[in-house]
Symmetry: C2
Subunit: 606 residues, 2 copies
Amino acid sequence: MRRAYLTGFTGSAGTAVVTKDKAALWTDGRYFLQAEKELTHEWTLMRSGNHGVPTTSEWLNDVLPSGCRVGIDPFLFSFDAAEELKDSISNKNHELVLVRGMNLVDEIWGDARPEPPKEPTRVHDIKYAGIDVPSKLSFIRSHLTENGCDAVVISMLDEVAWLLNMRGSDVPHSPVFYSYLIVEVSTATLFVDSNKVSEDVLEHLEKAGVKLKPYEAIVSEVERLAEKGAKLWLDSSSVNAAIITAFKSSCDKHMKKKGKAGEKVEKEAYSDEPTGVENGALNAVYNVSPVTLAKSVKNEAEIEGMKNSHLRDAAALAEFWCWLEDEVCKSVPLTEVQVAEKLLEFRKKQDGFIETSFDTISGYGANGAVIHYRPTPEDCSSVGSDNLFLLDSGAQYIDGTTDITRTVHFGEPSPRQKECFTRVLQGHIALDQAVFPERTPGFVLDVLARSSLWKIGLDYRHGTGHGVGAALNVHEGPQSISYRYGNLTALQKGMIVSNEPGYYEDNSFGIRIENLLLIKELNLANSFGGISYLGFERLTFVPIQSKLIDVSLLSPSEINWVNDYHEEVWDKVSPLLSGDTRDWLWKNTRPILDVTHRYSHAQDIA
Amino acid sequence: MRRAYLTGFTGSAGTAVVTKDKAALWTDGRYFLQAEKELTHEWTLMRSGNHGVPTTSEWLNDVLPSGCRVGIDPFLFSFDAAEELKDSISNKNHELVLVRGMNLVDEIWGDARPEPPKEPTRVHDIKYAGIDVPSKLSFIRSHLTENGCDAVVISMLDEVAWLLNMRGSDVPHSPVFYSYLIVEVSTATLFVDSNKVSEDVLEHLEKAGVKLKPYEAIVSEVERLAEKGAKLWLDSSSVNAAIITAFKSSCDKHMKKKGKAGEKVEKEAYSDEPTGVENGALNAVYNVSPVTLAKSVKNEAEIEGMKNSHLRDAAALAEFWCWLEDEVCKSVPLTEVQVAEKLLEFRKKQDGFIETSFDTISGYGANGAVIHYRPTPEDCSSVGSDNLFLLDSGAQYIDGTTDITRTVHFGEPSPRQKECFTRVLQGHIALDQAVFPERTPGFVLDVLARSSLWKIGLDYRHGTGHGVGAALNVHEGPQSISYRYGNLTALQKGMIVSNEPGYYEDNSFGIRIENLLLIKELNLANSFGGISYLGFERLTFVPIQSKLIDVSLLSPSEINWVNDYHEEVWDKVSPLLSGDTRDWLWKNTRPILDVTHRYSHAQDIA
């Protein structure tokens, strides 16, 4: 919001940099057009990722005379990000200054600046959370002790929400609340605006031995821990620079008082690193948060909630698709935004619905080829029957989080569209059906989703799968399924991932087929190497449009997959439907080809 | 040979370490039994890879009192390997000493030590080499200039042979000769025993401007280059420690003479690194040899030679398999070694045959499950009709190098064997049929060869593909197809790789199906991203035993693959055969199922 206030650019991603005589805004390909419209001439638009466009630090090194001071708000940068910026601008002898106690944008904004969100928090019922807070805390504490740590600072909002079985609504689409959490070996403190905490939430926290402190008290508390000589577990990729540098500098002061430090004069400047790092090394373990993996491996109650919420979501989607097909066939004019709004109405009728889990991507024709397309009421297409319609949407329910993409055609798809759709479907099936040994990182499986497209020289420029939270963020780590082979996190039993290959023909159409999958251990006839073999269980049950499938491209096992999936969709979702929608589901889950018949005959020939 | 002389252990891989009161030999799983037999009680056998077995440096750190001196022959360690050893033993303050001018084993061996091989070298005909030596040298020289280097030291024997279009026979199975090569911007020098160089080879070298120097002169020549102030390109992963340290220390002396060095006293010890490294950094570029990639990407003549030699090899194999099937059916007793010898006889009859390209792996029944099994006449099985027989073999021809594995059963395979064989075949087909964008590293494709086995909880503990030289080493880099994701080398047009998935049931049977594949650019209907898409062309044409295939597990496209492959085998190889062998080939290349018929009927049903 500060960036939008300062620059006029309202896109969701970007970085604004202001020098004494220049102002530049970096954003990515999704927002080039929007930024061109919204930025005034005082701003230079930096098209990130385009050839020859410098990074923010390259630009700073270029436009500033050597030896300048560059300020950031240290609460808005992770420690690692600040370090990286510091290192890269040090090439031109610039100094990174952490501007504490004020934010320059807020100074200008003044009283007109909106208040921070003050939405109430709520208890996430144990029947959905599965594990109570004391058990989760003692799990974290056992990790602390194993690593010789006295406390951990948790600043990822979904990790705080997961660990405390709490939810909030400070952030659109994500049921989290602004907070920090410090877990010590015998206590735990939640840093949050107490106005957000009702009586029953307070009781819930007290029962688990969690105390409250004001949100702003986090830094002083970390300094107090440093003074006590506590050893902290810090995930420097997520904990902000303000907290970690405050801890380091406080350790430093403490050491000096105890006469252990060297002769270096104490400074507030960030570049005073040698001492800080030294003490940091003694008093902190820099490691990925102990909550990250625990949160991504779902327990039975979380899995149950995910399954149930997916069925209700499927019912809403069946009603929606039945309605939309009817409207489009009657040539009722409907924009992409109106369609998304109607989908929201259907979802709102489902028990436990809270909100959408991300901005709905409702893209007709060429708009479907814009991977992160977000239609706006002023400037969006109508949904017709001449081209493909891609709809990627999801919801937050009390018991789970959904994320589904379907691509349909309400008229006659071209052979090209059918071929591309079928290739995407083959990739979707190949990943869905994959079996793999434990300890396999997600990137190993990515090729399964791409190889059918590769065979005709096609591909897509995004990953194939992301982690999904249980009644939490729709994107969560640490696992992923991607062609980028940097993420070595093994796929583990209980994790949830999306399966979403696609194909995008610029200025023409977009295709994506997305289900969510639960990773489960398989009971196979063999287990070579004495290890577990894992596979997927589908959570999403919405028909895949048969009209778009070129059956002649499919193998019998792929045809069986489609038939079996549709049979499963019918069995699970039809009991939740009535009337027209039930009829629609029946029609849309008929077998695409009777493979059994074909097979038995082939055997006769053989 | 020195290791065998010293220890009595005759396996092909191992490391012997001797202290004042202890002697230990490290070898891997292939040789545990053999080493147990061959080592006397004075030697401790270290089973590398077994849990709790220390590495050589861990052992040295354990058994030696702190601060010892550990000697190695620096001609027998790459610089990188010596550095690694030096670093790890420095933990206990041991010093690594490069023992120059003598080898301790040779000192004991004395006059009884055999002479080094003195086999003659020969010119590798331009019709097989494709590119003449001056062109290859100027390619290397352009790389030198681009990198600001004056010379490159090439010590990989296959790189010297490739660059100079020469072949030799100093090393069993590999047509290389002991040598070093230094390419400078205007000259090139081959360091080789001049007795190995006949008149016509000499003429060949002279025409290309390549001078001869004695093999032993390599170190003094490198020192001379250092004195001249030349900047060297050194591949420290392959160039030995003797050469690189000689260069560094010579640079050091030279700098001092010119008054540029510090006050450090000159030392011969290897630990005198700081100065050396500094000058090394100034006077050398440490990078993978410029020959490595050039050699692995085959030119048209090399590809032609590979194709031709593979057809002759296929003819020999058809004769062999026809003969063996007949003998086994007549219950003629034949050992694994006798079978391998007979195969050699058939190959010897082919034009341009030189030798086998590796020790034939001829494994019947449980022996087939030993991945690097090498039968010995004294101790090997008979080949019968009660179990699977795995035969992995290859040949060096004047125009190419082959490597093929087939697994057969001369009686009735069990359903289990058929299931496993069919799963291996499905992996083989999936990799064979893969299409992938340029810049794809081999490990991305590895999963394609494994996923059919994973589906039933099976796997194999070796990589899926290695590079193969053209009339050169049967194993060459830099590319590979493996589950280990460390090798980021992209698969490139013109490279050759093996496709050899397998399955090994301990104490029971082994299965491997191996063809060689040429990577080629495909001309597809699309090229998303404006890049090339690559695929494979088969080089190996020997039937895959239909009896072992469970057709009910195959998809129509897999059935088509088998039928098409066998049709191609018949078309290409039958013209080279006559009589019984031709009949055998006909019988063994019949379609396994008429899929066209099946498919057309299925379409009718649809």
